[in-house]
Assembly symmetry: C2
Homo-oligomer: 279 residues x 2
DNA sequence: CTTGACTTTATCCTTGGTATAAACATCATA
DNA sequence: TATGATGTTTATACCAAGGATAAAGTCAAG
């Protein structure tokens, strides 16, 4: 092998890159072969050109486009390179952040699928101890209990727009619920104009609220229009057993199967009311 | 606004997505409008279809392709969804890992640019304290000091192939050097058949070696063919001052400017020999 | 000289959209 | 009912960063 006169195939194999990619880089003037045969068009590379290829691959791994890389080469200016690398560094950090949020969302949903498997689906109340959680709240104009599913969906759209508008990661949007405040609940008023999303522990903002851990009386269902009915069943149970409501009512959407229904959420939700057993 | 009969523009605005993207999803059978006017071709959406759009965006954020998402929808099987999500979870982790490595490489190189600014370029020896480092070693067939730049480049290609072959991140490939073992050095034998790369502290493998922190006598240069000369200058200095060599000789490539030279690495390297001042 | 391996160009395909133009539809107002 | 301003349709091309394929030409070894 003549290291000063490598064919495109040899150069490609040495650098673990495809011949097509080398031709592309030639066309884009990113890496021009050391010598091109005028008659046959054959490209011949010098092994020293591998250094440039290394640089291209390094810059590509940092997320630069080929156009930016060409700029780095043509500007001939190490200061510009440093500037671009600093920009890439921030881009990498943003991307890692985005992926971490996405990862958390996927994990949360996978956990919810597991919950779905074991939670009672017969509409009977049960107890659950639930740990500390953090939620991001958003207040709407109307009472959810006056809305049909389209109205509910519309309110979610307004929340989504709010998130985009305020640069809040959309990944949170996949684990949603609604609140009835304790004061309304105690008056038997099924009134809720607040929707919430669970957020990471480390996320703080004025609209993030901490939900204390505790014992919850819960009920699950997949019937959107039965929420009032299920809520009343819980409240009746609470009255009959003389439990004391010690916090807000949460209706958490555990799972959503828009895949398997046309036009409508097929959701499975868990209503949870924190209670104390009075001594 | 009729929530049961949204035009494509209304649907797009509600969901913060472009009309083109909605048309694309229609063409791909990812999200078909609830009703399409036969005469005009106008698409009309039901707001409940937003749920499906949410699902698409969520799955997209987890890294699925549109084709995979379509499969999720058409399979109608929550178990398959969980399987795919678990696959995505691993993909996300791999990508975060890759980005972290890339980030470290960029940081390392930016630091090296800073070093380049301040290091003496006049070929004079100087002392420097260098902290603990980890290197990944690779042994070649020949002695670097018998090679010209093409031969050196060829050995780097073999290293690169080794990395690819053994699934070692290529991001390490951007901070490279060679070793002369202490025993050879003490016999004035400029012999090196080991090339190394600096690796992260937490990376362990049989080929990873720890370099102790300590005081180094160093010399910098950008002349590939002057390494022997520079090495000898250091060795002479050490003899004259009666220093004691207490470890291996490292020749670290601080910077590489393949951008700014044709066919040849324009490299800036720092030779470092760990020494003790004899009392 | 032949044969097989290699290389050339040209062209199309991929993904997840964006952009544009020309034609047509809808809607509010006059 | 007319009109102008939007809104929507299709078709087509474009982007990055290559991958796939085909038909034709080239190289090197026996």
């Amino acid at each position: 092998m003549d290291l000063q006169r490598l064919t495109i195939g040899q150069m490609a194999r040495l650098n673990h890159i495809s011949e097509q990619t080398l031709r592309l880089y030639d066309r884009n003037h990113l890496l021009t072969p050391a010598y091109t045969d005028e008659m046959t068009g054959y490209r011949y590379y010098h092994i020293g050109q591998s250094a440039r290829l290394d640089m291209i691959q390094y810059l590509k791994a940092s997320g630069m486009t080929l156009k930016q890389i060409k700029e780095v080469f043509s500007s001939d200016n190490p200061v510009k390179l440093q500037k671009l690398l600093n920009i890439q560094l921030r881009a990498i950090d943003r991307e890692i952040g985005r992926l971490s949020k996405a990862r958390a969302a996927v994990t949360r949903n996978l956990e919810n699928y597991q919950k779905y498997e074991v939670l009672p689906k017969n509409g009977n109340p049960f107890f659950e101890f639930i740990g500390k959680r953090q939620i991001y709240r958003y207040t709407c104009d109307e009472n959810f209990f006056d809305q049909d599913d389209a109205g509910y969906e519309y309110m979610l759209r307004k929340l989504k727009q709010h998130l985009v508008h305020n640069d809040i990661p959309l990944s949170y949007f996949s684990n949603i619920g609604t609140i009835i405040r304790k004061s309304n609940l105690e008056n038997n008023a099924l009134f809720s104009n607040e929707v919430f999303m669970f957020v990471d522990d480390n996320d703080v903002s004025p609209d993030v609220e901490t939900i204390a851990s505790g014992m919850y009386l819960c009920i699950c269902s997949d019937d959107f229009y039965a929420e009032s009915e299920n809520a009343n069943r819980l409240l009746t149970e609470i009255r009959q057993r003389s439990y004391r409501i010690i916090g807000d009512y949460l209706c958490e959407v555990i799972m959503d199967f828009p895949a398997f229904e046309f036009n409508k959420r097929k959701m499975f939700y868990k209503i949870q009311i924190p209670v104390a057993m009075i001594s």
